[in-house]
């Protein structure tokens, strides 16, 4: 059922009117939800054309979030890698510092856009799903700012292992619902948020945290997150007078990666790597969360994309050291770019991410989240093999405060 994929004139025109990127994406939802997602689509199309909407979003990004986030030349990481590289090798490594955003990750970029949309649509309350809690915290934050009631669905397993973020959400005035169904992690939280939305269609807006879900969410979240790549383009021009050569970003659902990549998709000189969570290694069944390199296409949560699933089409649980990456699916636009070969999808294991996490802290004085630690792990692999003039940008999409307990436990330290 795959439509043959032909190489497009542009990689940036998707999705089509059906919400498809090639054969991926779409609107695979129950009839009760169809009128709602069509309403979100219409409202977003209008908002997109309204300069006042953009102006308000930009104002929030500048004065509330603290954008643009810096583009940091990671000199010590670069020197460290050059020491191991052949002469004339060892790329220049830059970090896009989205961990410096208010709330500590890139999630707030798309949340503010969506909350402004919800206000425009006259919605009275907000729901969201969250895995590690970063999207939940960002949504709770925006809801506090806009005085909207907020309910965050979070798998009971994640509630137990991400207590600091649960408390943050509560401080911000949100209600956190611990989801007990299934394996009680991110995919179950998303199921429950969709179920809740079906039952509260009149007054509720569902703020999705990644570039997945039914159309228009993958495109809408991408559009908001593209602020990351747009800033990188201007900042790299200022720093080096040209485009970057290589972009690297971690992929769970894929929103930080899509935001970095999208503005560069039509620049043939720019190579892109999406780094999935390799967990214990992608050869282990249910031991990883690498949907693109270890899964196959299917339909879940409203879109057709690559999924971790068994031979009967039942969805498998992902595993990753990072609670933000252990989602069994991936945004449909990534699935399309994967099949076209425009973006190279690779993976980094738990152990590689953990090593990169520590290296980043010691060399740059930055404690990254475990999600971008996967991206850094790939940078550590490729940078020494590339010529010294190569410019790499890695999306440092979140800070690691939330992960210090997990890391301490893995390193055998008591905190």
């Amino acid at each position: 059922m795959n439509k043959p994929l032909t190489r497009p004139n542009t990689y940036r025109s998707g999705p089509d009117a059906q919400g498809k990127f090639g054969g991926f994406g779409g609107r695979y939802v129950a009839e009760t939800l169809m009128p709602l997602i069509l309403e979100v689509e219409r409202a977003y199309a209008e908002a997109k054309r309204d300069p006042a909407f953009h102006a308000e979003w930009r104002r929030l990004l500048t004065h509330y979030v603290g954008r643009p986030s810096p583009l940091w030349f990671a000199e010590r990481v670069t020197e460290h890698l050059r020491a191991k590289a052949a002469p004339g090798h060892g790329a220049r490594v830059y970090f896009k510092r989205d961990e410096l955003n208010h709330t500590g990750a890139h999630k707030i970029n798309a949340v503010l856009g969506q909350i402004l949309l919800a206000k425009r649509m006259g919605k009275k309350r907000i729901i969201a799903e969250t895995g590690a809690g970063q999207h939940g915290v960002a949504t709770a934050t925006a809801c506090a700012l806009f005085d909207l009631p907020c309910t965050v669905f979070m798998g009971a397993t994640d509630v137990a292992r991400q207590q600091p973020n649960v408390f943050r959400m509560k401080l911000l005035g949100a209600e956190v619902v611990a989801v007990e169904s299934g394996a009680a992690t991110l995919k179950d939280a998303m199921n429950e948020a969709l179920r809740h939305w079906v039952a509260h269609v009149e007054d509720t807006y569902y703020c999705i945290g990644t570039v997945a879900g039914p159309h228009p969410y993958p495109a809408m979240v991408r559009d908001f997150q593209s602020v990351i790549g747009e800033e990188v383009r201007a900042q790299m021009q200022a720093a080096e007078g040209r485009l970057p050569d290589v972009l690297v970003a971690a992929i769970g659902g894929g929103s930080n990666a899509m935001g970095l990549f999208h503005p560069f998709l039509d620049e043939p000189s720019v190579r892109m790597f999406g780094v999935e969570a390799g967990g214990h290694g992608i050869e282990t069944v249910t031991g990883h969360a690498a949907s693109l390199t270890g899964g196959r296409p299917g339909v879940l949560h409203g879109n057709r994309t690559y999924l971790l699933q068994d031979e009967n089409g039942q969805i498998l649980e992902g595993h990753s050291i990072s609670a933000g990456l252990d989602y069994p699916g991936v945004g449909p636009e990534h699935a399309w770019l994967h099949e076209l070969g425009r973006v190279e999808y690779v993976n980094a294991t738990d152990a590689e991410a953990l090593a990169a996490f520590q290296l980043c802290a010691r060399l740059e004085g930055i404690i990254p989240a475990l999600e971008p630690a996967h991206a850094l792990a790939h940078v550590l692999k490729i940078a020494p093999t590339l010529p010294a003039e190569t410019l790499i940008v890695m999306n440092l999409c979140g800070r690691g405060d939330k992960d210090i307990f997990t890391v301490a436990r893995l390193l055998g330290e008591a905190v």
Binding site: Y28, E31, G313
Partner: protein
Amino acid sequence: MASRIAARFAALRAEGRGALIPFLEAYDPDRATSMEILRGMPAAGADLIEIGMPFTDPMADGPIIQAAGQRGLKAGATLGGTLAMVREFRGQDDATPVILMGYLNPILSYGAERFAADAAAAGVDGLIVVDMPPEEAEVLAPHARAAGLDIIRLIAPTTDAARLPLVLNASSGFVYYVAITGITGTRSAAPEELEAAIPRIRAHTDLPICIGFGVRTPAQAAHAARVSDGAVVASALIDTLAKSLDAEGRATPDSVRRVLAQVAELAEAVRGAR
């Protein structure tokens, strides 16, 4: 040859009553028990039978049917196994229509064309695929049509006038009216809501209309069958089955009997409704 679904609704119309459509989840809590419930349903008064195909992530289902699906999967349910149940059932009953209800991913994994052909060959009459709105039906609908299977579509209270013809045009067999904006087994619609909703749909289609979601009691089933052409009862039956299981979730000698007794009670109410 008229389909079993069309034939059954024609016969019910002649009788002047609506249909009782009980639901069971395949392999819940094990294959033998669910097979015995399926076999017993026509005699208990089922006019059509809906069988749930377990899926790990049933987006439109409440806790009761979610749990049934998980029990079914634990007991080894697959689409192939579910089709084999229907084939076995057809050995004793060639008249009662069987509808399979499920989600798209296991069907795509099985192969949409092969699934439609195998389902028809097993004696299935119609499919309800919850997460396949008309906009996304191309993956399965042509194969279902070719195999002679009806695609039964859900109409929700949120389905507006503009959208109604699109959904109805993509439907065959009968139309399934979702009585509430919500998930299965949570709450029930008020009688007057149903009395207003059904004529709105009736104005656009000649297909039979059945009501599900929140139809739990004999009185509710009787009312639904009176204002429409049939009542689907799912969570209430699954609830009875679940409560009959032992502490390890295994069937007890009482399980089948209690479920079928409830079907009989519902059937009696539906038959007395007009």
